[in-house]
């Protein structure tokens, strides 16, 4: 199952005033019922095909279940947080975490810069995919190519909402294009930048397709991401470990999103 397209809009920080509560009394019970009717199909499908498998895999991550046990899933031992602690002692997982961090730390700003300047570096030179030092940069470039389109569109829209007169006024006052960009455009783009940052974070932390297709996690493990690591573990039948790795990733994404909200909102 391919990960859903990595385009995700961030939860919108409410910069708008609090919505007024709907009037009480008559119609409230009716409206609740109607709300449930509207939500009904979604809830039914979501509970069945969304929540249940998650609970199932979450419980897998705290047992020693492997592919061997799949026909007798209850005859397994509870291992508590054993997998999670073991993960942080496994050099492959730590490598995967490092690779993922590398990808995210370099990839996201790079993608954003490219999206903003609409330029891409030409490709010639080292034997990209065979050299452990260049494989990751090659994949990052690939990811940038793949993902800069949507953020570019978002930035475009964001740019269009910046009043032209502000920039004109600055130019009249003697500011250069670059100064105007830095002092007016960039700060006003902050909400947009937040959206793009969160979007890319979720997508890039999960990055999987690039190593899967191009390098199978090599050379020498330099492009194994956490998602790819989990995929490999599933392939080996270590369901408990693989589930645990996935949920470490989930925690990382949640943390990163939370941090980004703090950073970008504080200065708004």
């Amino acid at each position: 199952m391919t990960a859903l397209a990595t385009v995700r809009s961030a939860p919108s920080p409410s910069t708008r005033p609090e919505r007024s509560r709907p009037p009480r009394s008559r119609g409230r019970a009716r409206r609740t019922l109607i709300a449930w009717v509207f939500c009904g199909p979604f809830i039914a499908l979501f509970a069945t095909f969304g929540v249940w498998p998650v609970l199932s895999s979450l419980s897998m991550s705290v047992t020693d279940i492997t592919a061997r046990d799949i026909r007798t899933p209850f005859s397994v031992n509870f291992v508590g947080l054993g997998h999670y602690t073991a993960l942080f002692g496994d050099p492959n997982f730590l490598r995967a975490a490092l690779n993922t961090a590398y990808f995210v730390v370099v990839g996201i700003p790079l993608t954003m810069i490219v999206a903003l300047t609409l330029a891409v570096v030409g490709i010639h030179g080292p034997d990209w995919l065979n050299d452990p030092n260049w494989a990751m940069p090659a994949l990052i470039l690939m990811a940038v190519w793949r993902h800069f389109g949507i953020p570019m569109v978002i930035f475009l829209a964001g740019l269009q909402s910046i009043p032209a007169d502000l920039l004109e006024a600055a130019r009249v006052d003697g500011a250069t294009r670059w100064q105007a960009f830095r002092s007016i455009t960039l700060p006003l783009l902050r909400p947009t930048t937040l959206v793009v940052a969160v979007l890319l974070s979720i997508g890039y932390l999960q990055f999987f397709e690039e190593p899967f297709v191009m390098t199978s996690g090599g050379p020498l493990g330099s492009t194994t991401s956490i998602s790819y690591y989990a995929y490999e573990q599933f392939g080996f039948g270590n369901y408990g470990t693989a589930s645990a790795a996935s949920y470490v990733l989930v925690a990382a994404i949640a943390l990163l999103s939370f941090l980004q909200f703090r950073i970008f909102r504080a200065k708004a």
Partner: protein
């Protein structure tokens, strides 16, 4: 925020999980059921559903039609399954109990499937093991019992530019000592590289572990309880592999995709490669039939101190425990293991028969290229049949790559392989 609500739900979910996981693992080893009832000799009947991968899947219906002719009450329904991720498909099928009657299994995958308890043991007396090549039988056993019946085999031998060899006045090497000089002579005739060797792409181990076998190494202990990579023999084999690269006979950046090396072989920039029965048609598309006839020579792998062992792969058949037509499935498999049907299948698909006697007649007996593979099959070996082998091959590929790129020494690489393979274990 939403977070606290979600956190509360997750904790609740964990509580449920704790309860569910409360039932522990029983201490007794999971009892593998005894083999099922033997299969009678009556004609098969009913619908038999099977999975087969790739080209075999596309071609099998032709063979199945003949089976239906001989067994009028039976119908074989073949579903062709992609090689890509087929293991995942089989495992999820076993997990849900929603399986066909039988499936083709790749050589390295049997142990993983058998360990789930989802495959049935081969009924006693169904087939005679001695009829098959020993390497093929190796891949069908798991924990001392048989879970598969060999169907076809493949092995790898040495393809080389015989026109360059003729010009250089050398003939195909028979021993390790003749190997290097032979290739160097071909390089003197204008080839940039003497021999193409894998250097880390997936499956590299299939090209490099044979050197260890040829040096006499056993990579697993006799009782199957541990791996034994760190031995003088294995080191000898890995060193032999390394010196191809250090003496510039082979490139440190080996081929990664199928079809990549053939144009270079045709152009003469690479003078030799090690490959299997599929190579001839690849060379035909890359260079034409005349090229293959005039310039392509093939010889068994040169012998090391112990043997000239090559890698054996191929396909086998297994029946699921949840099969609905178990009898029909085993009868179909038994039929496919007959010498005549094996010959017919070769005619349909080009797959080499796993049954030795099928080679005694026809093209299989007379064709010179096939004769080389026949010789090679006698000594060909497969990897150890453990549930963890796939994981170990990933380690092998990675460490061999380090040796090929000059980042590690054979000694250090084998120590690392031994360390990590032991950590992974044999699953015993």
């Amino acid at each position: 925020m939403f977070i606290s609500s979600v956190a509360k739900t997750l904790v609740g979910g964990m509580a449920v999980a704790l309860l569910l996981a409360g039932c522990g693992r029983s201490d007794a080893p999971s009892a593998q059921a005894a083999a099922g009832n033997p299969i009678d000799t009556l004609a098969a009947s009913g619908t038999i559903t099977v999975w087969a991968m790739g080209t075999e899947g596309e071609l099998l219906p032709k063979l199945a039609a003949q089976f239906s002719k001989e067994n009028p009450g039976a119908k074989v329904e073949v579903t062709a399954v992609p090689w890509q991720d087929y293991a995942k498909k089989v495992q999820t099928a076993i997990a849900s109990g929603d399986t066909p009657d039988a499936t083709m299994v790749g050589a390295v995958d049997l142990a993983a499937f058998a360990s789930t308890g989802g495959l049935e043991k081969v009924p006693s007396g169904l087939v005679d093991h001695n009829a098959f090549y020993p390497g093929a039988v190796q891949t069908t056993t798991f924990e001392g019992a048989e879970y598969g019946v060999p169907w076809y085999v493949e092995t790898r031998s040495l393809f080389y530019r015989k026109d360059l060899a003729q010009a250089a006045g050398v003939s195909a090497p028979k021993t390790w000592d003749e190997y290097g000089p032979f290739l160097k002579a071909l390089q003197k005739q204008g080839a940039k590289w003497g021999l193409s060797l894998p250097t880390g792409a997936t499956g590299t181990w299939q090209g490099v572990v044979p050197f260890m076998w040829q040096a006499g190494a056993e990579i697993m202990s006799a009782d199957g309880k541990k791996f034994t990579f760190d031995t003088p023999e294995a080191r000898k084999g890995l060193e032999f592999y390394q010196q191809f690269i250090t003496s510039k006979i082979s490139s440190p950046n080996g081929p990664v995709s199928l079809g990549e090396i053939e144009p270079q072989f045709v152009a003469g920039s690479t003078a030799a490669l090690i490959s299997g029965p599929w190579e001839e048609s690849l060379l035909k598309s890359a260079g034409g039939a005349a090229f293959v006839g005039d310039k392509v020579g093939i010889a068994p792998l040169p012998s090391g101190p112990k043997s000239n062992a090559s890698y054996i792969g191929g396909g086998q058949w297994s029946v699921f425990k949840d099969a609905k037509n178990r009898d029909g499935a085993w009868k179909f498999i038994r039929w496919m293991a007959g010498a005549e049907v094996q010959k017919t299948w070769y005619g349909v698909s080009g797959d080499l028969p796993a049954v030795q006697s099928a080679w005694n007649e026809g093209k299989l007996a007379t064709d010179p290229t096939l004769a080389v593979f026949r010789t090679q099959l006698k000594t060909a070996q497969s990897g150890p049949n453990t549930t963890t082998w796939r994981q170990v091959t990933a380690v092998l590929d990675a460490e061999i790559e380090k040796v090929a790129k000059g980042v590690s020494s054979p000694e250090a690489a084998l120590q690392e392989i031994q360390k990590r393979a032991s950590a992974i274990g044999t699953g015993e």
